[in-house]
C-alpha cells in the first residue's frame, strides 16, 4: 500500500512536468498546425539558465522568474527568426526548421554552459513530508503547486481575457480571425513564447530533483509529445491529463515491472496511441464548434 502510494507520488511528480511540456506542444500546434521540435529544448534552457543565474548569485526566486522570462523571449525570437519567414508554408518546413533550431539551441547551450550536469537548490529546504507512509519531497509539492498555478492561469487567460479569446480564434480559423482584426502573426509569436515559458517552468521545477544538462531536451520533447497525443493533440485539458497518465504509467512500470523499461513507456504509448486511437484518449472532448 505504501509502495503504491509512493509510486503514485513519483508518477504525478514527473507527470506534472510532462504536462507543462505537453501544454507547450498544444499551444504551438493550435497556432500553427505543426509540431515544434524545439519544445524540449525550452525545458532544457529553463533549467540551465536558472542554474546559471543562481550560480551567478541571484536569489532563487529571481533566478526562477528570470529564467522563465529569458526563455520566453528566446521562444518568441526563435519564432520571429526561424518560423515567421515560412509561416504560411507547408507544415513540413516548420517541422524541419524547428528540428534544425533545436540542434542550434542545444549546441549553443553546450558552448555557453558547458557539458556538465548541474543541480539547482531545492526551492525550500527541509526533510520530506510523510503522508500515509509515503515520503513526499518538498520539491515535489512545488512541482505540483507551480504546475497547478500555471495551468489555471493559462485556462483563465484563454477563457476570460480578450487576448486569450483572440488566440483561440486564431487557432480555430486563422483567416477568419484575421478578418475580425486579430494579428495572427503576433498570436503565433506569443504562442511560441508561452510554450517556451511553460517548458522552462518544467525544467526549473525538476532541476533540484534530477539535475539538468544541455542534452536533456530531446528525450523530454518525446515524453511531452507522447503526453500531448495521449490526451489528444491540440486540447490543453487533455495535455495535462495525458501528462499525468504518462507519469503514472512510467512510475508503475518502474515500480512493478523493471526500472530499465521506464524510458520505453513514452515511446510505447506514442506508437500505441498512433496505432489505436490517433485522436487521443480525450480527443474530441475539448473541441469547440465554430
Amino acid at each position: 500500500m505504501a509502495d503504491l502510494l509512493q509510486f503514485i507520488v513519483a508518477g504525478l511528480k514527473s507527470g506534472a512536468v510532462y504536462a507543462l511540456v505537453a501544454l507547450g506542444f498544444t499551444l504551438v500546434y493550435g497556432a500553427t498546425g505543426a509540431i515544434n521540435f524545439a519544445q524540449g529544448e525550452f525545458f532544457m534552457l529553463g533549467g540551465m539558465i536558472g542554474v546559471a543565474l543562481a550560480q551567478a548569485g541571484a536569489p532563487l526566486g529571481f533566478a526562477v522568474i528570470g529564467s522563465v522570462l529569458i526563455t520566453a523571449v528566446i521562444g518568441g525570437v526563435f519564432e520571429l527568426l526561424a518560423v515567421r519567414p515560412i509561416a504560411s508554408g507547408d507544415p513540413l518546413r516548420i517541422i524541419m526548421v524547428t528540428i534544425g533550431g533545436s540542434v542550434v539551441i542545444r549546441q549553443l547551450a553546450l558552448h555557453v554552459f558547458g557539458p556538465d550536469e548541474r543541480p539547482l537548490a531545492p526551492f525550500t529546504a527541509g526533510p520530506s513530508l510523510r503522508v500515509l507512509g509515503a515520503a513526499i519531497e518538498r520539491q515535489t509539492v512545488w512541482v505540483w503547486g507551480i504546475t497547478a498555478v500555471a495551468v489555471i492561469a493559462l485556462a483563465f487567460m484563454y477563457r476570460r481575457t480578450l487576448f486569450g479569446k483572440a488566440m483561440r480564434a486564431t487557432s480555430i480559423r486563422r483567416d477568419a480571425a484575421r478578418l475580425v482584426g486579430i494579428d495572427a502573426g503576433r498570436m503565433v509569436t506569443v504562442s511560441f513564447a508561452l510554450a517556451a515559458a511553460l517548458g522552462a517552468l518544467g525544467g526549473l521545477v525538476v532541476a533540484p530533483l534530477t539535475q539538468t544538462a544541455f542534452y536533456v531536451g530531446a528525450s523530454m520533447g518525446v515524453k511531452g509529445f507522447s503526453a500531448a497525443i495521449l490526451g489528444g493533440l491540440g486540447n490543453p485539458v487533455a495535455a495535462v491529463g495525458g501528462g499525468l497518465i504518462l507519469g503514472l504509467l512510467e512510475s508503475m512500470t518502474a515500480g512493478y515491472i523493471n526500472p530499465l523499461y521506464k524510458d520505453a513507456v513514452a515511446l510505447i504509448v506514442l506508437l500505441g496511441v498512433l496505432f489505436l486511437r490517433p485522436q487521443g484518449l480525450l480527443g474530441g472532448l475539448g473541441r469547440e464548434k465554430v
Binding site: I35, I86, M96, G100, G101, V104, A218, F225, A266, L270
Partner: protein, 323 residues
C-alpha cells in the same frame, strides 16, 4: 533528358570506381569508404524526404540495428558474413515497417516524432541488451566481410565493396524514381490529395519507401561493422540521425544527385584534416566541435532560403532541366 545528364553518372561512377587506383593514402581511402556508407544511408533518406516528403529523425538507429545484427550473426552465431549482411537489411526493414505502419497513416510530423522516440529507444536498447551488444563498452572483434573465400581486409577491397553496394542501391533508387513508384512519390509530394484522386495508394507508397530507406540504413550499418570491426551505442545517436537529415535536406528534394553531393561534402567536412592537406589541427578541431551547430543552422537556413537545396543548384547549372 539530355545526353549530358546520362553521361555524367557514368563518368562519376568511373571516377569513384578508380579511386583506389589513384589514391595510395590508406587513411584517405578509409575516409572515402565512410563517405560511401553515408551515401548509402542518404540514398534511402532522400527517397523518403525528397520524394515522399517524410522526415525521419531515427535513421542512425536503423544503421545501428544493422550493425549490431551483422555483428551478432557473424560473431555470436558464427554465420557467414553474407547472411549477417542480408539479415541486417531485413531486420532494419522490419523495424522500419513496425514504425511506419502506425505513423504514416497520420500526418508526417507523427512519423518524425515516432522516429525520434525510436532513435532514443534503440540507443537505450543497445546499452541495456548487454549480453547481445556488449553494452556501453561496445561490440568488438567483428570480422572483416567475407564472400566465399575472399576476405575484404585491404582498404581498397573494402572501398570497392562499400561503393559497389552504393552503386547497386543508386541504380535501384534511380529506377524507382523514374518508373511508376517514382511518379507516385512525386505526385504525393506535390499534392497528396491530387495523388489520392489519381488512384495512388499513398500510404502503401510511403510505407514501402520508409521500409526501403530503413533497409539501406541497416545495410550501411552492417558494412560499418565489418569495416571498423567495432560498434558502440555512442555512434548511433539522435545526433547522428540529425546529421543524416541535414545531408538529405541540404541535398534538396526531388533529386538523388543533390543529396549524394551533400552527403559526400558533409562527410568530408567531418574528416577535413584527411582531405585538405596541410590544414592545421586547430582549424580541424574547431570544425569538429562546431559540426553539429553547423548542421542545425544549415537545416534552418536551407529550409528558409533555398528549399530546393543542392538539387536546385544542380538543376540551374544543368540549364533548367526538369522541375
Amino acid at each position: 533528358m539530355k545526353k549530358a545528364q546520362l553521361i555524367i553518372p557514368f563518368v562519376a561512377a568511373g571516377v569513384v570506381a578508380a579511386g583506389p587506383l589513384l589514391i595510395d593514402d590508406r587513411f584517405l581511402l578509409k575516409v572515402l569508404t565512410f563517405v560511401g556508407m553515408n551515401v548509402l544511408v542518404i540514398v534511402g533518406l532522400s527517397l523518403l524526404f525528397g520524394y515522399a516528403g517524410q522526415v525521419s529523425l531515427g535513421h542512425a538507429a536503423f544503421v545501428g540495428l544493422g550493425a549490431y545484427t551483422c555483428a551478432i550473426f557473424t560473431v555470436r552465431l558464427e554465420l557467414p558474413w553474407i547472411v549477417g549482411f542480408a539479415t541486417a537489411g531485413l531486420v532494419a526493414a522490419l523495424g522500419g515497417l513496425i514504425l511506419a505502419l502506425p505513423s504514416l497513416r497520420l500526418k508526417g510530423h507523427y512519423l518524425a516524432m515516432a522516429t525520434l522516440g525510436f532513435g532514443e529507444l534503440m540507443t537505450l536498447a543497445f546499452v541495456e541488451a548487454e549480453p547481445l551488444t556488449g553494452g556501453v563498452d561496445g561490440f568488438s572483434g567483428i570480422p572483416f566481410p567475407v564472400i566465399g573465400s575472399f576476405e575484404f581486409r585491404e582498404p581498397a577491397a573494402l572501398y570497392w565493396l562499400v561503393w559497389g553496394v552504393v552503386g547497386v542501391a543508386l541504380l535501384v533508387a534511380w529506377n524507382m524514381t523514374m518508373l511508376r513508384p517514382g511518379r507516385a512519390m512525386r505526385a504525393l509530394h506535390g499534392s497528396e490529395l491530387g495523388a489520392v484522386a489519381s488512384g495512388v495508394d499513398t500510404v502503401g507508397v510511403k510505407v514501402r519507401v520508409f521500409v526501403m530507406s530503413a533497409a539501406l540504413a541497416g545495410l550501411s550499418g552492417a558494412l560499418y561493422a565489418g569495416v571498423v570491426g567495432f560498434v558502440s551505442p555512442s555512434i548511433f545517436t539522435v545526433g547522428a540521425s540529425v546529421t543524416f537529415l541535414a545531408m538529405a535536406v541540404i541535398g534538396g528534394t526531388g533529386s538523388l544527385a543533390g543529396p549524394v553531393v551533400a552527403a559526400v561534402a558533409l562527410t568530408l567536412l567531418q574528416y577535413s584534416d584527411a582531405v585538405v592537406p596541410g590544414l592545421s589541427r586547430d582549424v580541424a578541431r574547431v570544425v569538429q566541435s562546431y559540426r553539429e551547430d553547423l548542421y542545425g543552422l544549415a537545416i534552418v537556413l536551407v529550409v528558409i532560403l533555398a528549399p530546393q537545396g543542392v538539387a536546385g543548384l544542380l538543376r540551374r547549372l544543368g540549364g533548367g532541366g526538369r522541375s
